[in-house]
Symmetry: C2
Subunit: 358 residues, 2 copies
C-alpha cells in the first residue's frame, strides 16, 4: 500500500492506494469515528462491493442509499433523497458518509455530507479510475443543474480516500479509457516526464497491468495533492486541473450528460485546449499531434459533437470559470506547463470552436 | 456608525451598525467587488427597502428574487429557485448575493451563496432585530427539512453585515419582541451585567428608543463576534449560542414553523433551559424567576404548546446537537455562564419536559 498526504492543516488527510485494500477491513473502520455510517453507492457498484464494506463495518449502524447509475442523476433532487434518508434514520452530526463508487457517487455523496447539518465526515472509496485519480481527491463536491455542470456544490475535504486498484479489474473498458483522459491531463498540465511515461506505457495501462495502473494512479494523485495543498479553493493554480473541462462541460451539457462519459468529454476537451494553445503560438503543434495520437490509441473520442461554435460558446459561458462575463481558459504554455487566462483574442477561440464543433 | 470586527483570518469581516445606514449608498457599494448582484428579499421587505438598495448599486447588474414571507418557505425547493435565477441570468462566480430581510431570507440566501458555484460573496443586510443581533452574524446558513430545522446548510461567512437600526421603526411589534429573546440570550450565556442592563432598559427597548436599541444590538453582536471568532465551526463554546434552541426547535417543528416565530420559541426555550439548569442544582431558582418575569414583560410567550413530553423529546432528538443518539444540552451554570453537556440525569430532563410540554 502507498500513502499520499493532502496537506491542508486540520483538514489534511491520507490517500491510501493499493491492490486489495477493500479486503483489509481495518483500513476503512479506522477512518470512522462515530456509530453511524451512511453508505452511498449505485446500482452497479453496490452488488459488487457493498457487502464487503458492510462486513468491514460490523458493529456500526449502517444506512444505505443506492442511486441509479449515471451523470443525469447527479442532481439536487437526488441529494434531497440522501438528506431524507439521513433524517428518516435520525443520523446525527457524528454520522460518516462513505461514498462507494465513481465520480457521480463521490460528488453527490460528498455534497450531501458537506451540507447535512452543515457538514459531516466523508470517506471516499472510489471504484473507477477517474474517481481514483481525480474526483475523490481534493474536496470538490457538487450536483449538476440543467443549466450547467457542478453549479451547486461545496468544498468539503474527505477524512480519507481509499483507492483499491483491484476493483479496476471489473471496470468496463469504456470507463477505464475515460479515466485515462484525466491521467493524461496531469502529464499535460504539470509533468512532461509523466506524459512521456504514459505514452510509453499506454498498452500496459489498457491491459490493466497492475504495476502500471498503480504508478499512474499514484503519480496522478501526487500531482493533484500537491496542487490542492497549494490552492485548496481554486484562487489560482488549482484551475490548471480544469484543463479541457470547460470544453468538455459544453460537450456534456449539449448531449444531456448521457451520451458522453465525463472523462471522454474531458479527453476531447484536452485536445481542443491544446489546439487553441497552439493557435495562440504558446504550444508546439507537435504536442497537439502527440496528444491526438495518444487519445486515439487510448480509444478516446477526438471529435466533438457538431453542435456549432455558437452553441458551444453558449454552454461554455455557463462554466464556473466565467468572470465578469468573460470565459477564463486553462491553456498550455508548453508540455507540462499550464496557465489560466481571460486574455486571448476572441478570433482564435472562435476559429478553434468552429474547427471542433462545426 | 459603530463597527465591530469578526476575526476569522482571511474570512474576517465588519459588522456596521448605525441609524440610517441604508441611506449611505457607498457603504453597500463598497462591499461588492464584481459587476453582478443577486438581491434576495421577501414580499414584505422588498417594497420597503429594495428600491433604496438598487439605487445604491447603480451601474451594476441587479437580479432579484423576492421570496414569500415565513419560515415555512426556508426550504431546499426555495433555494433551488434561487439557483435557477442565478443560472438563468448567467451569474458567474463573481456575483455577490445581498440578503435583505430577516433570519429566513439571510439563512436561505446565505445557503444559496454558499453552494452556488461552490461559494460566492454574500452581504447581509438584516432588517429585523433578530437578524441584526443574531442570524446575520457568524456564517451559519441553512434551510429546513420537514424532519428538522436547519438540517441542510453550510458555514459561509458574509463579506459584511450592514445593520441599519432605523429599519426597526417599521418592524411589527411581535417581531421586535421575538428579537429581544435573542438579546436576552446573550446576557444569560455570557454577560450578567448585560442581563441586568436589559432588565433596566426593557421599557426603552420596547419603545424603540434608538440609543437603547443601538446598545443592545452592539453588545449582542460583540458577544457573538467574540464567540464566533474563537470557535467558528462550533467545535465547542459556539454551542452556547444555542441556549434554548433545542427546546425552541421542538416547539417550532411541532407547530409546523408557522404558529410561533423563531425568537418566540427561543424565548420559551430559554426558560425551559434555565428551569432544567435549576432542577439540576446548577442555577439559582431566582434567575429562573427573573427570566420568567423579563420574558413576560417583553410580551414573549412563556408556555410551550402542550404536545406532551414524549413528542417534545422526539423533536429534540432531531436537533443537530445529538451525539451517538444522545441529545447534548446547553445549560446555565450561573447567570452569564453556560456549558454544553450530554451528561445529565434523564429524569431531570423528563420532569422538565413534562412540566413545560405536558
Amino acid at each position: 500500500m502507498q500513502t499520499l498526504h493532502v496537506s491542508l492543516g486540520e483538514r489534511s488527510y491520507p490517500i491510501l492506494i493499493g491492490d486489495g485494500l477493500l479486503h483489509e477491513p481495518a483500513l476503512l473502520a479506522g477512518q470512522i469515528a462515530g456509530r453511524d455510517v451512511l453508505l452511498v453507492s449505485n446500482t452497479v457498484v453496490a452488488p459488487l462491493y457493498a457487502p464487503r464494506l458492510k462486513e468491514a463495518l460490523t458493529g456500526r449502524r449502517i444506512v444505505e442509499v443506492v442511486l441509479a447509475d449515471g451523470e443525469q442523476h447527479k442532481t439536487l433532487a437526488t441529494a434531497a433523497r440522501v438528506f431524507d434518508t439521513l433524517i428518516a434514520n435520525r443520523c446525527g452530526r457524528d454520522v460518516t458518509v462513505v461514498a462507494l463508487g465513481g465520480g457521480v457517487v463521490g460528488d453527490l455523496a460528498g455534497f450531501a455530507a458537506a451540507c447535512y447539518q452543515r457538514g459531516v465526515a466523508l470517506v471516499q472509496v472510489p471504484t473507477t479510475l477517474l474517481a481514483q485519480v481525480d474526483s475523490s481527491v481534493g474536496g470538490k463536491t457538487a450536483v449538476n443543474h440543467p443549466g450547467g455542470k457542478n453549479m451547486i456544490g461545496a468544498f468539503h475535504q474527505p477524512r480519507a480516500v481509499i483507492a483499491d486498484t483491484a476493483v479496476l479489474a471489473s471496470l468496463p473498458p469504456r470507463e477505464l479509457r475515460a479515466g485515462l483522459a484525466e491521467v493524461i491531463k496531469y502529464g499535460l498540465i504539470w509533468d512532461e516526464a509523466f506524459f512521456d511515461w504514459i505514452e510509453a506505457h499506454l498498452d500496459a495501462l489498457l491491459a490493466r497491468d497492475a504495476p502500471a495502473l498503480g504508478h499512474a494512479i499514484h503519480r496522478s494523485c501526487a500531482i493533484k495533492a500537491e496542487i490542492v495543498s497549494r490552492d485548496e479553493r481554486e484562487q489560482g493554480e488549482r484551475a490548471f486541473l480544469n484543463l479541457g473541462h470547460t470544453f468538455g462541460h459544453a460537450i456534456e451539457a449539449a448531449t444531456g450528460y448521457t451520451a458522453w462519459l465525463h472523462g471522454e468529454a474531458v479527453g476531447t476537451g484536452l485536445l481542443i485546449a491544446a489546439d487553441l494553445s497552439a493557435r495562440l503560438g504558446m504550444l508546439d503543434q507537435r504536442v497537439v499531434g502527440r496528444l491526438h495520437a495518444l487519445l486515439q490509441r487510448a480509444g478516446l473520442p477526438v471529435a466533438a459533437p457538431r453542435i456549432g461554435a455558437a452553441r458551444a460558446l453558449d454552454y461554455m459561458r455557463l462554466d464556473k470559470k466565467v468572470q465578469s462575463g468573460r470565459v477564463r481558459l486553462v491553456l498550455l504554455s508548453g508540455l507540462g506547463r499550464s496557465l489560466v487566462t481571460g486574455e486571448y483574442p476572441d478570433g482564435a477561440l472562435d476559429a478553434t470552436l468552429a474547427a471542433h464543433f462545426g
